[in-house]
Symmetry: C2
Subunit: 337 residues, 2 copies
DNA sequence: ACGGACTGAGAAACCGCTTTCTCACATTTC
DNA sequence: GAAATGTGAGAAAGCGGTTTCTCAGTCCGT
């Protein structure tokens, strides 16, 4: 009979008793240590199979000092961008036998450092996704989070690679595209105020304005989801802009929908651009002109970098920078006269 | 100075030394045990703060026999439905201080039971999302996974609550809607063959056919993503159907896009329905008629049920059944004469 | 003043597993 | 045939906590 230890689950001791050996030997067999007599090993394996024994990972983690788990902290699990990163990270990590623990901060920046710390202690490494916390706070907690990989955020802390998308360049490309179509009045529908990627976009727009003094660029308050775009219709119309740079594809889609409801023609009356190139972007009507970011790939790369850190391979991981690719579809066209 | 134990991180022993007490006392203080002298408690707390001591969760888990973590196994993390469930689950669990470990089986049903077992052993409970494995296999592993909550799947194993969406009813409602608009030739663009929710839809369609012998319902092979819908254009046109029931919103959107490319008018030429009512559904052109499923809510409910199981509250959790709500938008219209 | 009931904190056991240490026994070597 | 060497498995010591057990030192009542 499958006897049960105190906890009710089969433990190494049960297998040891059943096979008539010490638990040390069971452990050796389970870990493929070849210093065990083949006959005994076979007996242990048989007992393990019969009892359906599976080593308790918690005990194992404590003894080995590793959990084979990594954590990821995201500001908003509802955001397709972070979902894609999570997906890429999870897939890549799974291939190396690692699991992923998720923590959603729900855009509450004050929670981030606590969540990050908690997650980190349960895991072998951490990916911090576009944290909303201040540079100072980030720098303060970064060392205690090592091994740590940052996404869309940088820090001066040593040994913390950053994977950043060049949103500045991307938004410049989009603005150039619109300018090339004759638009002289643009508006930028901004993202969350604390978002670093929003700051990068603003920088890019400044560069664009410097290069194109003839183009007027308005700044409009915004957010990062559908509703933001949908609710921005009035502000957009009031601005008199003919080319709208939405913070991302979601906002663009919301705006698109809102403008359609007002009977406006896209791109006949107004041109709209998104950002990210989420899968849905190509299926809107009209198809959304956007800047494509290889976001799932970014998640995978995050794992590569984190793995190097965990294994202490001294690749002095410099991080990497991703260039968005202009994806021209049908939501942009010549400026209305 | 912050001395470090073998592992390099601050441990309970360091705090004990610093405060001049035994680690047992430190543990008592950290856990709010009031049998400690206030002065000593203060000293310990001060030492803990100064050393930035945080109890190691792995050691804690081993001693307490709980991890404060739950697992979720999904067939495809790219699917918005599972993302929404994950979101609801994660949010609800976080409110009770639980974290979520994710496992993606990538639609490989043979991996599911292994992933589930591994995840379960690291966690206090498990949510199994629309598993693709056979009934027999599910029934076999279910007992070893307890506490377990199933989503969109049922099992006869005792003590395993199921949260299921009544896809059969939903698809019937959609078919009735199309029939009411005069469509007599329908086609169902099926989902993944092993998907239980697909089977439920098929049952619903059988019921519909029995009630409406005058309506012709074709079955078309399919899948669950955009591309499936996009690639199904020819099959749909060949079928001669004027009303298409897509497996879900994603497939419907892909089909919508493909039909647009062929210059067809939706719903003028062909009516299309989706399923799930993902956020994007209302933003397509035309807006997608679909069956709305309160999917995030379902994730939250999964946590409620799982929590009851973990806490051994004998609510003999019967699970629950969710009725989709018909959401009529602009992708369906009168049948073309 | 003395014995019994309390209090509070240290010592030790334990959670489940890995790994070093140790030692009995077998094999080799001179 | 005795010493040197090797081999394999059990005993025991962690890993970092929690909790029971134990026992001084207090406080109380009589």
């Amino acid at each position: 009979m499958a006897r049960k230890s105190a906890t009710g689950r089969i433990g190494i001791a049960d297998v040891a008793v059943k096979a008539g050996v010490s638990h040390a030997t069971v452990s050796r067999v389970m870990n493929g240590n070849f210093t065990v007599d083949p006959d005994i090993a076979a007996r242990v394996r048989a007992a393990a199979v019969e009892l359906k024994y599976q080593p308790n990972p918690v005990g194992r983690s404590l003894a080995l000092g590793k959990t084979d788990t990594i954590g990821i902290v995201v500001p908003d699990l509802a955001n397709p961008t972070f979902q894609a990163i999570l997906r890429g990270l999870s897939r890549a990590a799974a291939q190396d036998g690692y699991r992923v623990l998720i923590a959603d901060s729900f855009e509450v920046s004050s929670e981030e450092s606590i969540l990050a710390g908690e997650a980190r202690r349960r895991c072998d490494g951490l990916v911090l996704c576009a944290p909303r916390m201040s540079d100072a706070e980030l720098e303060e907690i970064a060392p205690s989070l090592h091994p740590l990989v940052l996404i869309n955020r940088t820090t001066s802390t040593k040994g913390v690679p950053s994977l950043v998308v060049d949103y500045g360049q991307g938004v410049q490309d989009l603005a150039e595209h619109l300018a090339g179509l004759g638009h002289t009045r643009l508006a930028f529908l901004a993202g969350p105020p604390r978002s670093a990627s929003n700051a990068l976009r603003l920088e890019g727009l400044e560069a664009f304005k410097a290069a194109h003094p003839e183009v007027d660029v308005r700044m409009l308050e915004g957010g990062s989801d559908f509703d933001t775009g949908h609710e921005a219709v009035d502000a957009v119309l009031d601005s008199g802009a003919t080319g709208i740079l939405a913070f991302n594809d979601l906002v663009a889609m919301g705006l698109l929908s809102g403008l359609h409801e007002r009977g406006l023609d896209i791109p006949g009356d107004i041109s709209i651009t998104g950002f990210d190139d989420i899968p849905f972007a190509r299926y809107t009507t009209p198809g959304l002109t956007t800047a494509a970011v290889p976001i799932t790939e970014l998640g995978q790369e995050a794992w590569q970098q984190l793995r190097a850190l965990i294994r202490k391979e001294s690749t002095d991981t410099p991080g990497s920078r991703y260039q968005p690719r202009l994806e021209v579809r049908a939501s942009t066209g010549p400026a209305k006269k």
